[in-house]
C-alpha cells in the first residue's frame, strides 16, 4: 500500500473460507446460468435485442426484423427449411460414418449392416436419404422464390451468385453421396456421370485434338482416379461427400447468411414511410458504429421502427417452429419409408433403364441427345446465365413483389404455356420422328452436338425472352420469361424421364407397358 494514502478503514471481518465455499456452491447454478446467457427473460425491446446480439448462435439474425419478412408469403420459409435439412443431413451423415466402410469389398455389406443390424441405423439412413431429396427440392424452390420476388437485385446481386454456388454444391453433394451404397443404381449412375465428365472429348475428338488437349479425360481421371468406377473412385467420392463439399457448403452458407444482413435484410416491397409516428429508438444500441463502414442499409436505418418488430420472440419462434415442423416431417418419412438399396454393383450388367435420381433426370433426357451438350454445355450455360441475371436486369421497380406485379404474372403464365408447348412438341417430335442421325446416318457428330433437341430448346427460350424483353420494354420481364422457361422445361423433362422413359430409354406411356424380362 502507498503510505501517502489515507489510513484504511479496518476491513470487514471476512467469513471463514469454508463457509464462503458452501455459499458459493449453493449459488453456483444461478451464477453459471448468468455467465451463460448474461440476461434474464427479455421483458423489453432492449432486453429482447440483447437476447439476440449477445448470443453467438442468434447473432446472425438482426435484433429487429421487418414485419413483412416474417410473413409466409415473403419467403415461404424455404431458406430456413433448407438450412435445417442441411443440419439434419450433417447429423445423420456423421452417425452413418461410424459404420460405413468406403471400400468396394465392404461398402455394400456395411449398408446392409446399417439397414438390418445397427440400432437406429435404418432410421438414420432413411432420414439422410429423404432429407437429401428434400434439400435439393427446397434449394430449387428457394431459388425460384428469390428469383420471382426480385431478391437477386442490387444490393443482393452477389448473394444470388453465392446462392447459385450453393445450388451447384448441393447437387454435387447428392451426386457424390449416390455412389456410396455401391449398389447397381449407384454404380451405373456414377459410371454415366463420370462419362459425362469425359464428354468434352465429343468436341475434341471432332476437332482431332484429343491426343494433345484432353480436358474430358483429365476430368474423368481426377474424379475416378482410374479408367473405371472402382476402389479409387469410391474413396474420392467419399472424401468429397463427407469433407470437401460439406465444408465448402458451410463456408458459403455462412457468407450467404451474413450477406442477408449486410444487404439490408430480406427483400421486401418498398412501403411509404410513415412520418407521423413517434419512433422510439430503443434498440439496437450497438450497431450504429458500423453504419458508415457497411454499404447498404440495415432494417434499423431505412425503416421507421413502426414497420419492424423485435426478432425475439417473433423471428426466433417462427424459425424454431419451422425447424420443428421440418424435423417432424423428416422423422415421419424416416419411420414410414425405407431408402432404396438395390443388389450389389455388377460392372458387367448395366441397369436397364439406368435412371439417375429425379433431379438429374431432366439432364439425363438431354444427355440422350448429346452427352457433352446435355451433361456439361447446357447446364453450364444455364447456371452461368442465371448468375449474370442480376447484372443484366437492374430495374428498380417492384422489388420484393412476387413476379413484379400484374404484368410479370402475365408474362410468367404466358412463358409457362409457351414452354410447355415447345417442350412437349419437341419431345413428341423426337420420339416419333427421331433426330438428324435417323435421317442422315453419315452426319458428323459435331453437327449433332450443336443441333439437338436440347440446344434447339435453349435457343428458342433465349429468343422468346429477348422477344418478351423487347415487347414489354423491360429487362425484368425478359428475366422472368427466361427463368420460367428453364423452370417449366426442367419440370416437364424430369416428369417425362421419370414416367415415359423405360428400358433402352424407349418411350412408354406408362410403366405397366414395360416389357417383361
Amino acid at each position: 500500500m502507498n503510505p501517502t494514502m489515507a489510513p484504511e478503514t479496518p476491513p470487514e471481518k471476512k467469513p471463514k473460507a469454508l463457509r464462503r465455499f458452501r455459499r458459493n456452491l449453493a449459488e453456483t447454478p444461478r451464477l453459471f446460468r448468468d455467465s451463460l446467457v448474461r440476461h434474464g427473460r427479455p421483458t423489453s425491446d432492449r432486453s429482447a435485442s440483447q437476447a439476440i446480439f449477445t448470443n453467438f448462435f442468434l447473432h446472425i439474425i438482426p435484433t429487429r426484423i421487418d414485419r413483412y419478412s416474417l410473413r409466409i408469403r415473403a419467403t415461404l420459409g424455404l431458406g430456413v427449411i433448407t438450412t435445417v435439412l442441411f443440419l439434419l443431413l450433417t447429423g445423420t451423415g456423421i452417425a452413418l460414418m461410424i459404420y460405413y466402410k468406403p471400400s468396394t469389398a465392404e461398402a455394400y455389406n456395411s449398408m446392409k449392416d446399417i439397414h438390418y443390424v445397427v440400432p437406429t441405423g435404418r432410421f438414420m439412413r432413411n432420414i439422410h436419404r429423404w432429407a437429401a431429396h428434400g434439400m435439393v427440392a427446397c434449394v430449387f424452390l428457394h431459388m425460384a422464390r428469390a428469383f420471382y420476388t426480385g431478391a437477386y437485385k442490387a444490393p443482393r446481386e452477389f448473394n444470388w451468385v453465392i446462392g447459385m454456388g450453393l445450388f451447384v454444391l448441393t447437387l454435387f453433394l447428392s451426386f457424390t453421396g449416390y455412389l456410396l451404397p455401391w449398389d447397381q443404381l449407384a454404380f451405373w449412375a456414377v459410371t454415366i456421370g463420370s462419362e459425362i465428365a469425359q464428354s468434352p472429348r465429343e468436341l475434341t475428338d471432332a476437332l482431332g485434338i484429343t491426343q494433345w488437349f484432353d480436358p474430358g479425360g483429365a476430368q474423368k481421371h481426377i474424379l475416378l482416379g482410374a479408367n473405371h468406377v472402382g476402389e479409387e473412385a469410391l474413396i474420392r467420392f467419399y472424401v468429397l461427400h463427407v469433407i470437401v463439399l460439406p465444408l465448402a457448403t458451410t463456408v458459403l452458407l455462412g457468407v450467404h447468411f451474413w450477406r442477408i444482413r449486410k444487404d439490408g435484410g430480406l427483400t421486401r416491397p418498398a412501403r411509404p414511410v410513415v412520418h407521423d409516428r413517434i419512433v422510439a429508438q430503443q434498440a439496437p444500441a450497438k450497431t450504429y458504429g458500423l453504419m458508415a463502414v457497411v454499404r447498404g442499409r440495415t432494417p434499423a436505418v431505412d425503416r421507421e421502427m413502426a414497420t419492424t418488430v423485435p426478432a425475439w420472440p417473433n423471428a426466433i419462434f417462427a424459425i424454431a417452429a419451422l425447424s420443428m415442423l421440418t424435423m417432424a416431417v423428416m422423422l415421419a418419412l424416416g419411420l414410414v419409408l425405407d431408402a432404396p438399396l438395390k443388389e450389389e454393383a455388377n460392372p458387367a450388367v448395366p441397369e436397364n433403364p439406368a435412371k439417375a435420381p429425379w433431379y438429374f433426370l431432366g439432364l439425363q433426357e438431354l444427355v440422350s441427345y448429346s452427352a457433352f451438350m446435355g451433361g456439361i454445355g447446357i447446364p453450364a450455360l444455364v447456371v452461368l446465365g442465371l448468375m449474370l441475371v442480376p447484372y443484366l436486369d437492374r430495374e428498380r421497380e417492384n422489388i420484393g413483389v412476387w413476379f413484379g406485379g400484374r404484368q410479370g404474372k402475365y408474362v410468367c403464365l404466358l412463358s409457362a404455356v409457351f414452354t410447355a408447348a415447345v417442350v412437349v412438341g419437341i419431345l413428341a417430335f423426337t420420339v416419333t420422328q427421331g433426330w438428324l442421325r435417323n435421317w442422315y446416318p453419315d452426319i458428323p457428330q459435331v453437327v449433332i452436338t450443336f443441333v439437338n433437341p436440347g440446344t434447339v430448346m435453349l435457343v428458342i427460350f433465349a429468343l422468346w425472352s429477348f422477344a418478351i424483353m423487347s415487347v414489354s420494354n423491360s429487362t425484368r420481364m425478359g428475366a422472368l420469361a427466361v427463368f420460367t422457361c428453364f423452370l417449366i422445361a426442367f419440370i416437364i423433362l424430369t416428369y417425362f424421364a421419370i414416367v415415359h422413359r423405360g428400358p433402352n430409354w424407349d418411350f412408354y406411356w406408362s410403366q405397366s407397358q414395360w416389357p417383361r424380362h
Partner: protein, 164 residues
C-alpha cells in the same frame, strides 16, 4: 466534406492520394503473391491426377487363337468384348458404349445400348442414338507363348485384322 462525427469513412479523403511508384510496388507485391498461390494450387491439383492407374494389366491373354477359330464370334463378357474370326483374320470389338460407358448388347445385325438407345451396325458404326462414334476396335496380338492377347486400352482402326 461530410460533417458526420468521424467524417465520411468511405471518402477517399481519409487516405493520402496514391503515389504512383509506391502503387506499382504494392501491385507488384500483390500480384506476385497471387501468382505464387496460383502456381501452388496448380501443383496441388496434380496430386489427384493419377500418374499410374490402378487397373490390372490392360493386356489380357485369351488363350490359344484356335479357341476362337471355330465360331465366327466369341463373347467374352468378363473382358467386355467380342472376338471375331473371319477369313481375313481376327479382330476384337469392345462392348463399352462410346456414349456413356454402358455395356451394349449384341443383336442379330448389330449392337444396342440399353442406357440411352444407341444402335450400331454389325461393324460397330453408329446407326442411331446419341453415341458420338462407333464401337472401339481393340488391338489383338499373339504372345510369345502362342496365346491371343487383347490390349483393352489400345484402340486400332476398324480395318485392322490379325492373321492367326
Amino acid at each position: 466534406m461530410s460533417t458526420e462525427p468521424g467524417g465520411d469513412l468511405q471518402s477517399s479523403q481519409r487516405f493520402a492520394p496514391p503515389q504512383e511508384r509506391r502503387d506499382f510496388l504494392g501491385l507488384a507485391a500483390i500480384w506476385s503473391a497471387v501468382g505464387a498461390c496460383a502456381f501452388a494450387l496448380i501443383g496441388a491439383l496434380r496430386l489427384p491426377m493419377p500418374s499410374v492407374f490402378p487397373e490390372s494389366n490392360p493386356k489380357v491373354k485369351l488363350g490359344p487363337p484356335s479357341r476362337f477359330l471355330d465360331a465366327e464370334v466369341t463373347a467374352l463378357p468378363e473382358q467386355r468384348l467380342w472376338v471375331y474370326s473371319t477369313s481375313e483374320g481376327m479382330y476384337a470389338i469392345s462392348a463399352v458404349c462410346t456414349h456413356l460407358g454402358c455395356i451394349v448388347a449384341k443383336e442379330e445385325d448389330g449392337y444396342f445400348c440399353p442406357c440411352h438407345g444407341s444402335r450400331f451396325d454389325a461393324m460397330g458404326n453408329v446407326v442411331a442414338g446419341p453415341a458420338p462414334r462407333g464401337l472401339v476396335y481393340l488391338e489383338l496380338s499373339i504372345s510369345p507363348d502362342g496365346q491371343l492377347v487383347v490390349d483393352r486400352q489400345k484402340e486400332v482402326a476398324a480395318a485392322v485384322r490379325l492373321k492367326a
